[in-house]
Structures are given as C-alpha cells and as structure tokens.
Symmetry: C7
Subunit: 233 residues, 7 copies
Amino acid sequence: MSYDTALTVFSPDGQLFQVEYAMEAVKRGLCCVGVRGKDIIVLGVEKKATSKLQNVKTIKKVYQLDNNLCMTFSGLNADARILANQTRLQCQQYKIYYEDDPSVDYIAKFTSQQQQKFTQRGGARPYGISTLIAGFDNQNKPKLFQTDPSGACSEWKATSLGKSAKQVKDFLEKHWREGLHEKDALLLTTKALMDVVESGNKNIELCVIKKNTCWFLSEAEVEELTKITAQIQ
Amino acid sequence: MSYDTALTVFSPDGQLFQVEYAMEAVKRGLCCVGVRGKDIIVLGVEKKATSKLQNVKTIKKVYQLDNNLCMTFSGLNADARILANQTRLQCQQYKIYYEDDPSVDYIAKFTSQQQQKFTQRGGARPYGISTLIAGFDNQNKPKLFQTDPSGACSEWKATSLGKSAKQVKDFLEKHWREGLHEKDALLLTTKALMDVVESGNKNIELCVIKKNTCWFLSEAEVEELTKITAQIQ
Amino acid sequence: MSYDTALTVFSPDGQLFQVEYAMEAVKRGLCCVGVRGKDIIVLGVEKKATSKLQNVKTIKKVYQLDNNLCMTFSGLNADARILANQTRLQCQQYKIYYEDDPSVDYIAKFTSQQQQKFTQRGGARPYGISTLIAGFDNQNKPKLFQTDPSGACSEWKATSLGKSAKQVKDFLEKHWREGLHEKDALLLTTKALMDVVESGNKNIELCVIKKNTCWFLSEAEVEELTKITAQIQ
Amino acid sequence: MSYDTALTVFSPDGQLFQVEYAMEAVKRGLCCVGVRGKDIIVLGVEKKATSKLQNVKTIKKVYQLDNNLCMTFSGLNADARILANQTRLQCQQYKIYYEDDPSVDYIAKFTSQQQQKFTQRGGARPYGISTLIAGFDNQNKPKLFQTDPSGACSEWKATSLGKSAKQVKDFLEKHWREGLHEKDALLLTTKALMDVVESGNKNIELCVIKKNTCWFLSEAEVEELTKITAQIQ
Amino acid sequence: MSYDTALTVFSPDGQLFQVEYAMEAVKRGLCCVGVRGKDIIVLGVEKKATSKLQNVKTIKKVYQLDNNLCMTFSGLNADARILANQTRLQCQQYKIYYEDDPSVDYIAKFTSQQQQKFTQRGGARPYGISTLIAGFDNQNKPKLFQTDPSGACSEWKATSLGKSAKQVKDFLEKHWREGLHEKDALLLTTKALMDVVESGNKNIELCVIKKNTCWFLSEAEVEELTKITAQIQ
Amino acid sequence: MSYDTALTVFSPDGQLFQVEYAMEAVKRGLCCVGVRGKDIIVLGVEKKATSKLQNVKTIKKVYQLDNNLCMTFSGLNADARILANQTRLQCQQYKIYYEDDPSVDYIAKFTSQQQQKFTQRGGARPYGISTLIAGFDNQNKPKLFQTDPSGACSEWKATSLGKSAKQVKDFLEKHWREGLHEKDALLLTTKALMDVVESGNKNIELCVIKKNTCWFLSEAEVEELTKITAQIQ
Amino acid sequence: MSYDTALTVFSPDGQLFQVEYAMEAVKRGLCCVGVRGKDIIVLGVEKKATSKLQNVKTIKKVYQLDNNLCMTFSGLNADARILANQTRLQCQQYKIYYEDDPSVDYIAKFTSQQQQKFTQRGGARPYGISTLIAGFDNQNKPKLFQTDPSGACSEWKATSLGKSAKQVKDFLEKHWREGLHEKDALLLTTKALMDVVESGNKNIELCVIKKNTCWFLSEAEVEELTKITAQIQ
C-alpha cells in the first residue's frame, strides 16, 4: 500500500501505481468518441448536468486548440482545461517560431510529453485525463490521436475513452470503415454515444474538423442527428 | 488512510481525497444563493454572528470584484478573502492590458484555475471554498458561474452552495423561471435563504448585479423583503 | 492522528486541525478585552509575572501600531511580537505610498491575511495568537476588530479573548451599551478583567485609543480604576 | 519493504531496489532485437495494437537519432520518447560543437548516463526502459549497444530485450555468426522475433542501419520476410 | 509521540513540544545569575571543567556584545556562541545605521526574535538556550532581560537560569532589594551561585556592566568574593 | 530498521548504515587488483560477459584519467563511469589552472572527496564503488591509492577490491615484494586474478602505468600471461 | 526511536540524539593526544594499517592548517579531510583580509562553528569527528583546543580523543605539568599513546608546533621515542 503515496516509484513488478490510478479517474469520466473520415474527423462527447438549473448548453468539453485542431477528453474537467491551455499556448508559439500551423502529430506528442513529465518527477500527481486530439498532418491527411496519463500517444482510426469506452470501441470496430463522408462520420459518432449515455440524456457535443476549419454543431443539428440514429436502430 | 496526508495523489479508484475533504469544508459553510434574472443577477448569503456584540452589519460575504462582477462563497472565510483579492488583482491587470472590462466567463475561469493549481502540486492544501461568480458576458447577457475546490467551473441559471444547498436547489428548481425581473429575483433569493437559515436569524446579505453597476441592499430593504417572503408562505 | 502532522491538509470532515490546535494556544493565553465607546476604544489585558523579581511594569502586551492604532492579543507572546512588527512595517509603507494613515479596517485585514498565509502553505505552523485591533475607519468612527489563527477577521462592539473569554463576553453582553464615554468604557473594561484575573493579581494594562492619539494609563490610574470597580461590585 | 519507497538508497545487501523494479518494467515490455552484420545493423521490434482501430502502421518504436544512429527499446513507451528526444538534442549539439557526427559509442554512453542520473539523486524514479542503440564507431565499424535503467552500457553482437528476451537470446546464440550480410541479418532478426510474438500478430518494425544511411522496411518488405522465415522453419 | 518529530506543529492542546524540549536543554545547563543594582548589573555564571587538564580560566560563558552590553546563558554552549555572534553583528550594524549604541531593550528584542524564528518555520530546531542580557536603556537605567527558546523576552530585577534556577530565584527573592551598590550586587550574585555549584567547584565567572564600560573580575577578585560569601553564611 | 531510509544519519552506535550497505555493493562487484612495482603500477580487473553474444573485448573496466593516471573499481558499473568522468574533468581543469599534470595524490583525494559528499548531505545515495587509482606523485614515484564509498582514501603497495578481495589480499601479502619489475608485476597481478575468477573465464583486462605513459595489454599478451601463470602453479 | 531519524530535533529531555551518536563515532576512532608545553604543542595520533600492504607511512592524520597551526582528530577520516580543507581555506582568506596570520583561538572557533551548523539545520548529519587544534594565540602563547560534533570548543593543557581517551586522560592528569620542554612533551605524548595502541602497533604520527614553524617527526625519530618510552616503563 505504501507504493501509492510515493508519487513516482516503481512497484516490485515494475508498475507505476499513480499512473494506473489516474487511468481509473479517466474510466470514471464521461464518454467521448473520435471518428476519422475521408477528409474529416468528428469528435463527440457526452455532457451531463447535475441539475435542471445547470446550463448544459454552456458546458464545453471539446477544446479548439488551433484553426483546425481540436481536443476532447475523459476524466477530470479542471485538469483538461489546464492541459488545453498549455497546448494552445504551444500552438501560438509554434506559429511565431515557424510561421506555420503545427501539425496534429506535433501537438499530440507535445501534449503527451506534458503528461509524461508528471509521472517521473516527484511533487505532483499525474494528469487525471486521457485526450483525443484531432487535426491534419503534414500531408494534409486527417489524423486522430489518443494520449494517456502515462504520456503514451497512439494513433487511431476511431476510438472512445471514459465510461463504457470498451462497449463503444466494440461498436466502432464493427461499423467503422475507411473513407467515411461527413454525414456518415457524424451519424457513426452520434450512434456510438447514444448507445451508452444514460437514457433520456441527449446532451451531446459534436465537433467537425476539416482541413482549414472546424465547427461545433448547433443544438438543432445535434437533435436532428440523435433522431436519425434513434430510427436507425 | 494514508491517501489523506499525501496532498495530491490519486487513490486506487481515481479519486483525489484532499479535494473531496475540501468539499466537506464547503458543505459546512453558511448557505449562499445565486439567481439569474432577465438582465440581472442576485446573490444572497446568510451571515451569522457568534455573539450579540459581533457587528453583523459589517460582515461582508459578497465581494465586489469589478464594476459589475461579484462573488460570494460557502466555506472558509479566510480562504475566500485571499481568492477574492487575487481575482480583483486579475481584473485590474486585464483592464490595463486590454483597456476593457473582463467578462464574467474570463474571471470565472481564472478563479477556477487558481483553485485547480492547489490540487495538483504538492506543498499546499486546496482552497476550502466554492464560489458563485456573477456578471455579464461579452454579449452583455447576465451569467452565473460556480467554481469548486477541484477547479471545476460550471454555469447555472440559479444555484446554491453550503449547508442545506440541496434543499435550496430543490426549491429553486421548482420556482425559478426564465426572465425574472429584479423584484422577483430578489424575492426568490430571499425566500430560498429564509427557508434554511436558523430560525430567528434574519441576517442576510443581498447584492444586485446589473449591466453597468451593482449594489448591496440596505438593511431596511432586506428586512422589507424578509417580511414579504414570510407573508408569501 | 496523522492529520496533525501534515501541516495544511483537510481532515475527512473538512477541518484544518493545526488551525484548531492553534486556537487552543489562544485559549490558554491570558485574557484580553476590547470595548468600543462613543469616540473611543479601550483595550485591556492581564499581565502576570512568574516571580516577584520579574518587572511586571515593563511587560507590554498592548502594541501601538500607528498614531491611533493599537493591538493586543491572547496566545504566544513571541508570535505576537513578530506579527506586531510586520504590521507596524505595513503601516509605515502605507504612509509612504499613500501619504495617509491606514484605516483600522485595512490593517485588520492585513493582519488576518498574514495569519491566513500560515494555514495554507506547508512548512510552517499557524500563528498561535488571536488579536484585537483598535482604531478608526475612513469615516473617523471607532472600530474594534478581532483576527484569529485561521485568518478570520470580524468586527465587534466589545469582546474578549483567551482564558475565561466566554465568561467575560457574557459579562460584556449584559453591560455594554452604545455610546460609552471614556470613563465608562474604562470602568467596563477594568471590571470585565478584574472578574477573571487570579485573585490578588492586579496587573492590568489599559490603553485608550482616540481619534488622533492613544495613551497607556499609568499605574496609579489603573489602581484607581481597580479600586472603583471593586467598590461597584 | 521500506526500501521500495526511498528512491535512491541501498538495501543492507547493497542492492538498489528501484532500479531492479524498473528492470521488471523492461521485462514486461514488448520484445526488441538487434543484430550486427558485416557492415550493417538490423533493429527489429514487435508492435501490438490493442484494437483493430488503432493504427499500427503509425506506431514507431525505432527512433532515428541521427543520420545513421537508431534506437529501439523495451519498456515504457512514454519514457522512451523522452529519452530519445534528449539524445537527439545531444546529437545536434555534438555536431554544432565538433562539426562531425557523434559516434555510436559516444551516444550510447550519453544515453546510459542520462539513465544513471535518475538512480542516484532523489526526487525522481529511474527510466523504465532498456535501449538498443545501433550505429557506427570512429573506425566505421557497425556497433550495437544496450543500455539499462541502472545506467549500465554494454556492447553486443546480437541481443534482445523485453518479454521473451531470454528465449530470443538463446536463438541468437545458436544462429548468429560473424559477418552477416544484409539479407541474412534481416532474416535472422525476423525469425528471432516471429518465434516469440503472439500467434497471428505480424506487426514487426524493421530498421536497417548502414554507414551513411538508415531506413525502415516497408510493410510489403516486412511481410515478404515473415513469409520466408515461416517457410524456413 | 508523532508531535515530537514534526518540528513546528501544535499539539491538540495548543503546545509546541520542540520548544518545551529545548527548555529542558536549558534546565540541564549550568546555572547563571543576573542581579540589577543601582547603576550596575552583575552577571555571574558557573563554569565546570570536565578534567583538571581543561583550562577553566579560558572558558568564557559571558559574552560581551557591545561596550556595555553583555550576555550570559544556560543551555547548549555551541548554540550560545552562534547567537552571540549574530547579536554582535546586529550591534555593529545598528551603530553604522544610527551612529549610536543600541539600547539593551533593542538588543534583547532582537535576540528573542532570532530565537522565535526557529520555532515557527520548519527545517531547523529551536535554539537550546535561554539568555540573560544586561545593559542600559535609552534613559541610562540599568536593565536585565531574559530571553527563552520560545522567543519570549521579559525584564527582571534579578533572576537565574539553568540547573537549580528555582532554588536560586527563591534566594534572590528573599535577599534582593532595590538600589544595590556594586559591592553588594557582587556579593549577592556570588552567594546565589555558591549555594548551588557543586561542592569544591569554585569556578565562577563574574562580569560587571556599568554605564560606559564593563569588565570581568580577575580570578583573585572572584576568590576574594567567594571567601567573603563563605564567611557570611 | 528506520536508520536505513534516512540517508545520512548516524545510528546510536555511531555508524552510517547507507555507507556500509554501499560497501556491500562493492563486495558484490567483480574483483580488481592493483600492484605497485619499481617504476610501474599494474591494474588488473576481471570482466564477465553474461552471454556469448556480449562483446567482452569492448568492456572497459580500467579508465584512463590522464596521460599516466588510471582508475579501476569494484561495484556498480554505471557509478564508476560517472565518477571517472568527473575526475577526468578535474584533470583537465588542473592542467588549465596550473599548466602541469595533477599528481596521483591530488586526484585520489579529489575522487574520495566526491564520494564523501554523497555521505553527508541528504537527497542522494553514496557511490556504490571502491576505486583503485594509480599514477605518479610529485617525486615521480609510482603510487597506488584506494578510495571507498565513505570517502576514505589510503595508499597501498598492492591491494584488491570486490568479490574474493580478502583471498587475493592474502595472496598478495605472501608474494608481493618491493621493487617488482614490469614482467613480475604483470605476472603477480595475473596470478592473483586467475585464482579467483570463475573457472573457464579468462577475460582479464590489464593496464600498465609508467612515468609518461600507460597502455592496455592486447588480448594476445593477456592470454600469454594467463598461460604462464597457469604453468607456475 | 523516532527521534533518531529527525535530524535536528530535541528529545523530550532536551537532548540532540544525532549529536550524541556522532560522539559515538568519535569514540570508535583511533586515539589522538595533544600536549601543551612551554613554548610548544605536540600532537600525536595512532595510525593503523588494515594490512601489511597498506602504506602506513603515507597515512597523514595530522593536518597542517597554516604555518604553525595543526589539527588532528578522532572519528571518520573522510569527514576530517573535508573539515580540514574548509579550515585551510578560511586561514587563507583571513590572511588576505587582514594581512596577518589567524590566531589559534580564531581558527578553533571557526572550526567549531562549522560543526555547529550541521547540528541545527535539517538535511545533513553532524560531522563525525572531534578535533584537536594547536597553535599560538595573539600573545604568542601556545594553545590547545578541542572541538566536538556539537560545535563545542574548549581549551586544554593536554587531552586525548577517541578510543581509550579516558585512560589516556587519566595518564595525562597524573604526569602533565606546566612548562614542559620539547623533549619532555614529546616523551609524554608518545608514552600516553603507547599505553593504548594495540600491542605491536608502533605506527604513531607526531607533530611539533612552535611559534613560527611546525614539523612532523621522521620515522626514525618516532622509533627512537617509542624505544625510550618503552624503557621508562
């Protein structure tokens, strides 16, 4: 049990407990989904208000990092905001240094390195979030990356984090195919989320990332999509 | 039990105990209420003197942060004063940098980030307060935000913190409606607080925030309101 | 029990034990009393020599902070001297920056903030004193503030700290009335202290704060007052 | 048991437990293989996707450090990326200082020194990786080095790290011979890895380092090699 | 028991254990005595050699801080030397800043503040000494101050520290009277010490502080005084 | 048991446990031998490969520090490399400052001081090596020094460290005599090592230090010596 | 037992355990002796080789600090070298600042202050040595000082440290007399040491300090003295 409190030490079988406990915080987080299409990536995330009086519309769980770079996450909200702000700053610095937009690979690696730092040095806990980072690489191909509290960074065609992530991944493995167009990618993302959000909760945030732009779907558009997916089943 | 003393580590199931214990300090604090109206926000908070000799009139539990930005809280008084002063300073800096008033969104996020910092790094405990921050956004719409010891930040139509917060929230969910005018917002706030303050204790501080101004109700005005709400029931 | 040694952490029910233990040090301290009159505040404090050879006359437990700003305390003598010196320095700095005397509100808040700092950061214990700070506000009204190890700051009409503080407060609640003149305020203060000091111990320090001045009563004056109060009973 | 948490102390029999636990993390890592040939070194490493949706093609476990200097590893992915980046930086600095490429000896020693640092000073855990570093020495001879979490650095003709390392080493001891040509070195590396990767998993990354260049084999080339080795058996 | 090791925390009943343990070190120290006369202060202290070969004559336990400022102590010798040197430096600095000698009040407070610092901050133990500081105040009156490990500072007519301090104080309470002349003050000091030093041990250091000077008594003078006091009894 | 984890404290009987545990790491290290001759010193050390594939030839366990200054060691390989590099740097600095080669006394003391530092200050463990340092003093006499984890430094005519050190020392005490010529010193060193290396393991590194030069024996020369020593027995 | 690990805290009865444990390290050290003569001081110290091969002649346990200032010690060799080097540096600095040689009083106090520092602040253990420092004071009188791990500093006519110190002191108390000439002081020192060194061990280092010079006795001279003392008995 003493391994728990010593922030950065290995256990006798070579594990870093604090990192694995942070993964638990991720698994307790609300579900998020990323789907890569032909020239598009769609990020979707469940939002939950604890009361009717809380303003769900104003909760943002997808952070725009740059013109066409977005991030969503599962885990501790407050940690995500901090990490997103650090990454936004890095995007700005990259532009000033190189007079070019950073690629998604660069930013995904930067983000995961920030997370790794908090797993090796003492005096701070790891970040309690996993992220999905979507954008375009140097060849203008759409890319979807996942980063973890351990600092790991991997690329995915489509994936899911947080509560029910396993169930959603199974769904995506069955239904994802190469070259999805915008409409299909949106429907797949919506359907994947609708299967796991608590019944009656239709608060979903959807974000579309294209080559030179990205936008959030309006409430009406989201509702339209949830209706369609409900019929599909 | 050893999780308690290691300031910033995760427990095996992904929780941060110090943050949850700080939430307990919030729940032991006196009740505060925020209500958003049409072009107005009302903040109300219970004040309690420990003795007849203590000067309740001079106890201020609503901090004016800027021209039309106010904050109230539940939890440790001394922590609130420190956090309010930091936020006031940030308001001044914002004005010097941007020659404009900061929006309530900006200040609410700033405040919650200050709180998050004390949950990740070692060597200090989290702030023992939750806050309500009221003001206007960039579109001049009234907004009410809540920040927590975890660094979380959420927007509400109306909400309550501290002792009896749950009971007050239930009351607000039943009676709050969109577009309340000043009088109604004040009555709703007063009624919500009067239901939970200890019997005989009529020390309530009420603050009204409007677009370009904010003011505290006089004792006479507060007494008038408490009389009216007493009759309503 | 492990909460005790971790300087600044919350216990599971949201308490800060070190702050509460510091309050115990205050309760073990000798009694001090503050009484607000019409245009006057009187501070009184018990002094105790451990031996006939100790020079009670030279023990000062009321610190003059500025022209008409005084502080007394209950708790650890050495801590009080340190805190008084910090506050005196702040008074001087205020004058240099603003070319005006600091008000008692400003100084009371400054003092309580110094005390709060030692409750949140690790590496130091809280101050083991509560203080009474007396002076005049911006409207030239007399004011009496109390600050605690937690960093709390509150205003009082009349109050008492330290050993027997509860008994003295009950006495003050019964006998204090608005608008006391100098003589009455002095008699009330003396009487309140005489009831709780150990029998035979007549070492009391009395300080009168008026608008542009403050002075300490001579031994003869103190003795005169103790005689009068003895007769009153 | 208390030896585990004190980062850098010796146990009574002269062992450093944290370093040995880090070796466990290495042993849990996926297998990597290095084979030295006549004028060539081949690095091979197993890649495993946790899901069909993860993009195995984009997982890079061989890092190119310089023109003809490559590194692979077994252990924590995030640690490897950090260490590789530090080493790349050192390669660049060497070139700027000495206007020459660093030799593989120099870089292997640099890497192992970075690892040693984290075993002697407190406040950080050792790196959870062992590395294979391949390149050419000052006499243009191909060299293969291994570095460990302890900071140890040794030269090998052919070796293997991670899961099943012992089994692969036995295989290499039997089949490695001096002066392997490119084709034979590649087949030996592939065969060594194919024997231990989980059945059905054909995700292998192969990298060839020659005097003035290095390249990664295409998927087609890798598949061709795996087919040939399958027939050999 | 855990209170002991946490350097600066309060125990549940408001005590600082490390400070009280330092008082124990003082009580184990050799006895010292201070006596205030008409225009004179006498400091006396017992010296003990652990062997005939140790040069008692060269042991100095009364430190001259300034022209007519002296300090003696009970407790840890090494701590006293450090504290005396700090105070001497402060005397020099005072003269450079103010072109005047520091008064004994100023220096006594400075010394006790140095001692207080080590009771509030972590990372160091309190000083294990109590001191007697003798000199003249701003009205050229002789003064005798005592400072303690807690940082407390008090004025005395005559007092004693260290082993048998209680017994010596009782003696002084009986025999001290206002306005002692040099001879009488010396005899009183000598008599007080002779009663408690171990039989046969006549090693006493005596120091006389007058307005513009101070001197140590020669061995012959000390012996003369011990003879006289022996007869008195 | 608690003495083990507190890096630099004394145990009640005046021992430093961490230093003694580091000595255990030395005793587990492979054996090294130093022999002083007439105008020569020979250093010999056992090398062990963990596998046939490891390149024993390239393992260097004797570090050349300067033109005619060499060091070998028993204990942790990675620590030795760090300490050797620090010492090499010091050699270079010495030359720059004094335009002369450092003597072996100077360098041996420097090395042992580096080791002492890690035994007194907290936050780091002692070095897990003992070293033999060979070179010439200011009178051009050959010298052989030993340094230990404690920072101790002593001069020897011939000595041995690591596994079987005691057995080898007994051998050297019997056979060493003043004024050995190169051939005899080499044979004595080889014989001493051959008696304790594991049977069949003939990997020995031999280094000869003369006044203005030093060299490593070739494999052929080493094999020749091992053959001769085998016959001697 | 927990007092042991907390470096600088007092135990409940006012003791500093780490300092007392360091005294144990001193008592385990080899014996050293200092004898003051008429215009001379002699320092003698036992040297012990752990093996015939160790070069006892080159072991120096008396450090020359300045022209006629020498130091010897009992305790940890490595600590002594560090402390001697610090003191030598101070001697040089003194000369540069004051263009005069430092007196032995000054240097003895400096050395003991260095030792005191390590008993009050956390993060380092006390020095594990007691020292004898010999030289001349400002009146050109020979002086012999002893400093301890506690930072204590005392003057002696003749004394002894380390193993058997008590036995040697008893001998010195019997035989030391004022005004010893060089020959007698040397014989007394030698005799004192010879009585306690292990039988057969005749390795003694002797150092004579005179007004403007100091020198070490040659082996022949030491042997001569040991022969004479053997006869005396």
